[in-house]
Symmetry: C4
Subunit: 236 residues, 4 copies
C-alpha cells in the first residue's frame, strides 16, 4: 500500500499556500485524505517550507490518529483535520493558514458577509465564525476545535462543500474542498474576499450584502448540475 501519490498531492498543497502568499514563517498546514486506505497525510509540525520534501509528509490512520508512515511529528493541528475528515466524507483536502485578512476577520469575531460575486463564486452565503473554545475544552484543544467547527455547521444547517471555510475566533481560517488542490483554491479565495470585504466596509460602512438572487446565480454558475463556468472536464 503506497502513499506516494497522496504525499505528492499534499506536499504540493503545502507549497502552493506558500506560493500564494498565505503563509508567514511556518504558520499553516495542508492535508489530504485517502478514505479507501483509511489514511490522512499532513505536513510535519514546525518544518520550514523551503526544506519540505514528500518523504516528510506524515501518514496517519484516519481511525486511530496513529502515525503509519513518517519520521517526524505531524502538525500540532492534526486532531482538527482528523475530526473534519471523520465528520465529512465529501471533503478530500483541508488547509489551515493564518492568512492576513481572513485571520483579521477571525480575530474580530465577525462572519465575512457575501458582498459580491467573488465571494459567491466560492462560498454560498457568509463565511461563519465559530464560537470561542471554552477553558475546559483547551485540554484537548485541537480535537475540540474540530468539534466546534462541526457544531457551527450543524447549528447553521450548512453543507461544508457549499461553504468550504470557517473562521476560528482569535485564531484563523480553515478551508477545505474535494481535493487538497481545491482546498488551496478555496483558501486563496477566502483571503481575497476577506480583503475585499474590509476595503468595501471602509469605502461604505453601510454596504449591503449582494442581492441573494445574484449570489445564487454566481454560485450555481460554478457548482451543481446547471454549472456552465469552465470546461466540462472541471465540473463537479
Amino acid at each position: 500500500m503506497s502513499f506516494d501519490k497522496l504525499k505528492d498531492e499534499v506536499l504540493k498543497a503545502n507549497l502552493d499556500i506558500v506560493e500564494a502568499g498565505l503563509v508567514v514563517l511556518t504558520w499553516g498546514n495542508a492535508s489530504g485524505v485517502d478514505f479507501a486506505k483509511g489514511a490522512m497525510a499532513i505536513k510535519p509540525s514546525g518544518v520550514a517550507y523551503s526544506e519540505l520534501k514528500a518523504k516528510d509528509i506524515v501518514i496517519l490512520s484516519l481511525a486511530t490518529g496513529e502515525v503509519i508512515e513518517g519520521d517526524l511529528n505531524p502538525s500540532s493541528d492534526t486532531p482538527t483535520h482528523l475530526a473534519l475528515y471523520r465528520a465529512y466524507p465529501t471533503i478530500g483536502g483541508i488547509v489551515h493558514t493564518h492568512s492576513t485578512y481572513a485571520t483579521s476577520w477571525a480575530q474580530s469575531e465577525r462572519d465575512i458577509p457575501c458582498l459580491g460575486t467573488t465571494h459567491a463564486d466560492h462560498f454560498s452565503g457568509s463565511v461563519p465564525v465559530a464560537r470561542n473554545i471554552t477553558e475546559s475544552e483547551l485540554a484537548a484543544y485541537e480535537a475540540e476545535t474540530g468539534k466546534v467547527i462541526i457544531e457551527t455547521f450543524q447549528g447553521r444547517g450548512l453543507d461544508p462543500l457549499d461553504v468550504p471555510a470557517v473562521l476560528l475566533p482569535h485564531h484563523g481560517p480553515f478551508a477545505w474542498g474535494r481535493t487538497p488542490h481545491e482546498a488551496v483554491k478555496n483558501a486563496i479565495a477566502l483571503e481575497e474576499v476577506a480583503k475585499m470585504a474590509l476595503f468595501s466596509f471602509l469605502i461604505n460602512p453601510n454596504v449591503p450584502a449582494a442581492p441573494k438572487a445574484l449570489q445564487d446565480k454566481h454560485y450555481k454558475r460554478k457548482h451543481g448540475p446547471g454549472a456552465y463556468y469552465g470546461q466540462e472536464s472541471d465540473r463537479r
Copy 2:
C-alpha cells in the same frame, strides 16, 4: 482568413493582466475584436493562465456569438463582451477582472470620484457604478450585464472612450480601449486610482474632487487633438 494576430494580441492581454497583479486564480478575461472580419477573440472559461496558449483563445462570430475557431468553451462572460462591441464600434479590446480595489468600490456601490490627475489622465470624470441586475434579468445574466453597462453610459451621456471603465455592483470592473493593450492599461489605471481613492478618503473623509479645470487639463494632455504627452507616434 487567419485569426493568428488577434489571438496573439488577446493572449498577451490576458497574460498582462496576470502580470499586473489584477487576477487571482482564474478571475478575469480579456478579449479583442476584428470588426472587418466580424469576429471576437476571448479567453476560454476557467483555464489556468499559466497554461494558456494562443491556440486556446476562442474566436466567435460578432453577429451570432457562435464559435468560429477553438476547442474550448469561451469565457462565461462572453455575452457581456459581445454586447459592448456591438454597441460601441470605437472599442477594440475589453478586460474584465476582479481586481481588489476596483472590486471593493463595485461591492460598495460607489462611483470612484476623480480625486486627482492619475485618474484624470485616464478617465474623464467619475468611473460610474451601474445599477443592480434585477432578478428577472438573471436568466440571461451575462447579456443583460452588457445592456446595463450600455444603459449606464447612455443615461449619463458618457462616451466609452472618455470613461473607459465601469463598475458592476457587487461584482467587479470592466475596462476597455481602442485595442486589447489599451484596455489592459486602463484596467491597471483603474485599480490604482481605486486604491488611491480609498486611501485618500481614509486620510481626509471630506476630500474634494480635483478641480474640474485640472481634470480637463490632464485628460487633454493625453487625449484629443491638443495632446502633448508622450511621443507623436503614440497619440490617438
Copy 3:
C-alpha cells in the same frame, strides 16, 4: 562635451524608481542636472520603462529649455524640473512619481506630519502640500507648477535640502536631492512615511507629532556637521 555620465545616472534613477515600486505604467520621471555644462537630462515622455535606454534620455539647455541632444520628446513635466533647478542650485536630481501613498496624501490636500524618526531622518518637519493651481495658471501648467512649489518653500521659509519633497494637491509628489540617486532615496522614503502616517492615524486618530527634540536629533544624526550615521565617506 559629452553627457554620457549624466545620461547613465538619470537612466539609473528612472529605473530605480520602477524597481522600488513607485511607478505604475509610465507615471513618473527622474532628471539630473550638470550646472557646469548648463544642461538638464530627463526621461522622454510616455516611453515604457522596460524599453528605456541611456540614448533615449533627453538633454536640454537649463537656460532656454531647448533640446540639446536626443530624438524623443522630453517628459511633459520638463518645465517643472527646469524651474526647480533654476531656483535651487543645491539640487542635483529630481524625481516625480504618482507613488500610491504619497499621492493619496496629495489628493487629500494634507501635509504629511512628522510622526516618527523614519520621517525625521529624511525630512525636517512636515512634507508640505502646495496650493492648488489656479485656472489661469493652467495655460502654462508645468512651468506654473514649478513656481507654486517655489512659492510654497519661500512662504514657509523652508530650505529644499532640509525638506526634499513636496506634494502637489490632486496630483502627486516631487522629491529631490543633491544627486539623482539621492532624489530616488528621498522619493522612496517619502512613500514609506506617507504609508506609515496613514496607518498611524488609523490606529490612533489623535496621534501627536513626534517630539520636536527627537525630530531634530534624528535629522542631525544624518545631516550637517555633527552627523554620525553611516560612514564618513557618505556624509554631506
Copy 4:
C-alpha cells in the same frame, strides 16, 4: 579567537530581514553576541544591504563598546544593542527595523494587544510601547534608548524572552531572541501581528483581546517544558 561563525550568523540575520520585507533603504540592523568571548557583532552603519559582506560586520567589546575587529563604523544604534545584552544574558540576538506596521503602532504610542493565536504563539501578552525619551536623555540617545527598554520591562514585570519585542514611541520596533535567527523570526512575527491588529480594529473597533486561557495555551504549545509544537530538536 575567531569571530567568523558569529559574523556569518549576524550577516545572515541582516540579509534575512531584508528578504522578509522588513527593511526599506538601510533602515535596520541585526546583531548577535558571544558572551563567552565578551563580544558583540553588528551591521556597519548606513551600508547598503546588497553590498554587505561577512567581513564588514563589526565586532565590539561587550564590556567597553570598543571595536575589536572591522574597518567600518558600527550601526549608530550600537549602544542600544549593548545595553540590552548587558542587562539580559538570555538574549543572543537583536533586530531593529522600521517595519511598516510595527512602526505605525510605535508612532501611534499604542501597545499591540494580543488579539489572536498568531500573536500568542510568539508574545505572551501585549507588545509594550516604551515611554518617550526626555530631552535631556537625547544627549546619549542610543544608550538611553536601551535603558528605557529595560525600564519598561522592569516596570511591567516582563521577561524579555516571554515578550521578545518592544515598540519605541515615534521610532520603531526592537525584537530579540536566544539567537540572531530567532530574533529575525520574532521581528517577522511582530510585523505580521501589527498588521493583523490594525485590520482587526478596522473590521471591529471593539474587538476584545483573545481569551487569556487561549493566549496561554498557544504560548505554551510552543514554549516551555510542555511544548508540543514542532520537532523535539527545535524546542527550547
